[in-house]
């Protein structure tokens, strides 16, 4: 669904921009206004909706002098437009205030937890693309067959299932009953203190340091939440692959390839899929962005110490600074990936350049 929206936007932008300079300018304007809009919305949520934002940050049980101090710190006595100006300035320098829960600056917390979310989303996307693309191709080639119907239903279930529920049930089955995977978390406690991460991507870090046991342990922890998120993106990727492939298989070059006597396998996997690949890259990028969001619930189930768990934990403790900081970061990454995929599409597809 997001794809349709983005391609529509791409098309709209394409028809208007004639020169590259204009396109770059338009692109910059889009980035700036979208980001400002993001900040405006979070500003509205954090400062305008609550009757007393200071109370919302420190909680109603805080003593009066604390509330007064926070009020002053927030500049709540200033007019709204000035407050917004300071808010934007702070956000641009990465200052989202201090988390009440952890007493660290919110940005520092986010920097610590973000790699975990990225690692999970990456595993999920790889899983989704690895299985989703072949399934989508299969469904398109055997259009209307039983295989097509099965892929369709598998995809629709992926769209319809509450991911937190599926997570709970799979934990019961694969962890509690079968003992195939490790318990919730990122690493066993044994390794938690002996292993020093470099980048925060545990799978990568352990490989680089040659610690195979840590790698195996991290793998056993990530496989279940990763596969779950992957199923979610598989649903999207397989559906879009099917639709792109159907489109390509109707083209004349396919007839030409058949007339030349190429094998069906070659036509499907080398000719058709190659042309479907460009919009597919956009789809995969978008599903990656979607997984960053989808991880909120998954991380809660699997005690995965990432951004999603950070946001929900802060929510439970009425830690508004952390919630909004997390929202801004997720939103920014979301915007960035959307724009990047847009750019990528335009660079990779020659048809979008000539016009």
């Amino acid at each position: 669904m997001t794809l349709n929206d983005t391609t529509a936007a791409t098309r709209r932008k394409r028809s208007r921009s004639s020169s590259t300079g204009k396109a770059v300018l338009r692109f910059l304007v889009t980035v700036v206004t979208t980001f400002l809009g993001l900040l405006a919305v979070t500003f509205f949520i954090g400062r305008v909706i609550p009757i007393d934002p200071a109370l919302a940050i420190v909680g109603d049980r805080a003593p009066a002098h604390v509330v007064e101090r926070v009020r002053e710190q927030l500049g709540l006595n200033l007019p709204l437009y000035q407050q917004f100006y300071f808010y934007v300035r702070d956000a641009l320098t990465g200052n989202f205030g201090t988390s009440v829960l952890t007493t660290n600056p919110v940005m520092e917390d986010i920097r610590r937890v973000f790699p975990a979310t990225m690692e999970l989303a990456t595993v999920g996307t790889v899983f989704g693309a690895l299985f989703g693309i072949p399934l989508g191709v299969l469904a398109a080639v055997k259009r209307g067959s039983i295989a097509d119907q099965i892929v369709r239903v598998v995809g629709l279930i992926g769209y319809s299932v509450p991911i937190f529920w599926l997570g709970l049930l799979s934990l019961v089955l694969f962890y509690a009953k079968l003992r195939w995977v490790a318990y919730p978390g990122r690493l066993d406690i044994v390794y938690e203190y002996t292993f020093t991460p470099i980048t925060g991507f545990f799978l990568f870090d352990s490989l680089v340091q040659g610690q195979w046991d840590v790698f195996w342990d991290a793998f056993r922890h990530i496989i279940l939440p990763g596969a779950l998120l992957g199923y979610f993106s598989l649903a999207y990727i397989s559906r879009m692959t099917r639709s792109f492939m159907l489109n390509e298989l109707q083209q004349e070059y396919i007839v030409a390839a058949r007339a030349k006597g190429l094998s069906e396998t070659r036509i499907i996997w080398f000719h058709a899929l190659r042309n479907a690949a460009v919009p597919l890259i956009t789809v995969i990028a978008l599903s990656y962005a979607g997984l960053l969001e989808g991880s909120v619930l998954t991380e809660t189930i699997f005690s995965w110490p990432g951004l999603g768990l950070y946001i929900t934990n802060s929510l439970q403790n009425a830690d508004m600074n952390a919630v909004l900081g997390g929202t801004i970061i997720v939103g920014s990454v979301f915007i960035a990936i959307n724009l990047l995929s847009d750019l990528l599409y335009r660079t990779l597809d020659p048809r979008t350049r000539s016009r």
Binding site: M1, T2, D5, A8, A9, T30, T33, T34, G37, L38, V41, T42, I45, G46, I49, P50, A56, R143, Q149, R152, V153, L156, I157, Y159, S160, V161, P162, I163, F164, W165, L166, L168, L169, L171, V172, S243, L246, N247, A289, G290, L292, E293, G294, V296, L297, T300, I311, T312, L315, Q316, A318, M320, V323, G326, T327, V330, G331, F334, I335, N338
Partner: protein, 310 residues
């Protein structure tokens, strides 16, 4: 709309499928019939329709259908009974409440969330989209910029932040979901509006002196409805899932309301031994959102044959 030539069959069908309807009534019925035929060819779509009708039925007659009280349980004799226990077909939860009865009453909450979100979000999207498409110029630019900003937001995270500010509760959850779900509708309505903005019937109405307000309200909006309905139906599953997610995090419906997401959350504590407490509401959510997805898919294929199978 051209109708494929059919071999002669019973009179009524021929009449409905006639190329030259003799009355407006016949033409309308014929059109509806063609759409229905296209829709009912798709067996999965019929399954979806069946699920939704069942949901409506259960919600309407929840009081009659539910065998037990949904909020008050039997703590003495009926705590955490497994599914299949006599009188408690889907088992009971930790407070001795019948899960089936809670699910049946919960269907009302689910329906309420869907309907309210659709009633709030769809008109907003429709107005923003048609106005922006019809007016063009800077109005269009500003409205679409705002729409794009909301589209750029990850839905669940925005809803979370909103509920965090507004306070937990099912009304606020509905509001938060509605705020996050209107932008795609605006996009669709705008795209539709652009396709017939310069068409002759609009010029004719304009010549007759209709105000822009009247044109948008009476002539543009009705034409955007069918694609909007399809999109809203397709979105309903997402709405249900978001509402359940908020409920699961304790931000949606508050106890003792039998909201399905919140029921999963309360069953989480004893998932290892009494799996059914958390599992049953999940099945309900899965079935209902699957129903909406199947129905939406079928509607899209039937109403928009161009996109069929894509």
């Amino acid at each position: 709309m051209s109708v494929v030539e059919q071999t002669p069959k019973p009179y009524s069908r021929d009449w409905l499928l006639s190329d030259r309807p003799t009355s407006r009534h016949q033409a309308r019925l014929g059109r509806a019939y063609v759409i229905w035929r296209r829709f009912s060819e798709n067996r999965l779509a019929l399954v979806g329709l069946g699920i939704i009708i069942l949901l409506l039925f259960v919600a309407a007659f929840a009081n009659v259908l539910a065998p037990h009280n949904p909020v008050q349980g039997d703590l003495m004799n009926a705590r955490l009974l497994p599914p299949g226990s006599p009188g408690y077909w889907l088992g009971t939860d930790d407070q001795g409440r019948d899960i089936l009865s809670r699910l049946i009453h919960g269907s009302r909450l689910t329906l309420m969330v869907i309907v309210l979100v659709a009633v709030i979000a769809a008109p907003i999207g429709l107005i923003v989209g048609t106005v922006s498409g019809y007016a063009g110029g800077w109005i269009d630019a500003i409205l679409m910029r705002i729409t794009d900003i909301f589209l750029a937001f990850p839905k669940l995270v925005l809803a979370l932040a909103l509920v965090a500010a507004l306070g937990p509760g099912i009304e606020n959850a509905i509001l938060a979901i509605a705020v996050t779900s209107w932008p795609p509708y605006a996009r669709i309505a705008r795209a539709e509006t652009l396709t017939f903005r310069n068409s002759e019937f609009i010029s004719a109405v304009k010549l007759m002196g209709a105000s822009p307000f009247r044109i948008v309200l009476r002539h543009v909006m009705p034409l955007c409805l069918s694609s909007l309905i399809v999109r809203v139906t397709l979105d309903m599953a997402g709405i249900i899932l978001t509402a359940a997610g908020l409920g699961f995090l304790g931000l949606g419906a508050q106890p003792p309301l039998p909201e399905w997401g919140a029921m999963i959350a309360s069953g989480r504590r004893f998932i290892l031994d009494q799996w059914w407490v958390a599992a049953m509401p999940g099945f309900a959510i899965l079935i209902v959102s699957l129903g909406f997805n199947l129905l939406g898919d079928g509607l899209r294929d039937a109403l928009d044959p161009k996109e069929a199978g894509q």
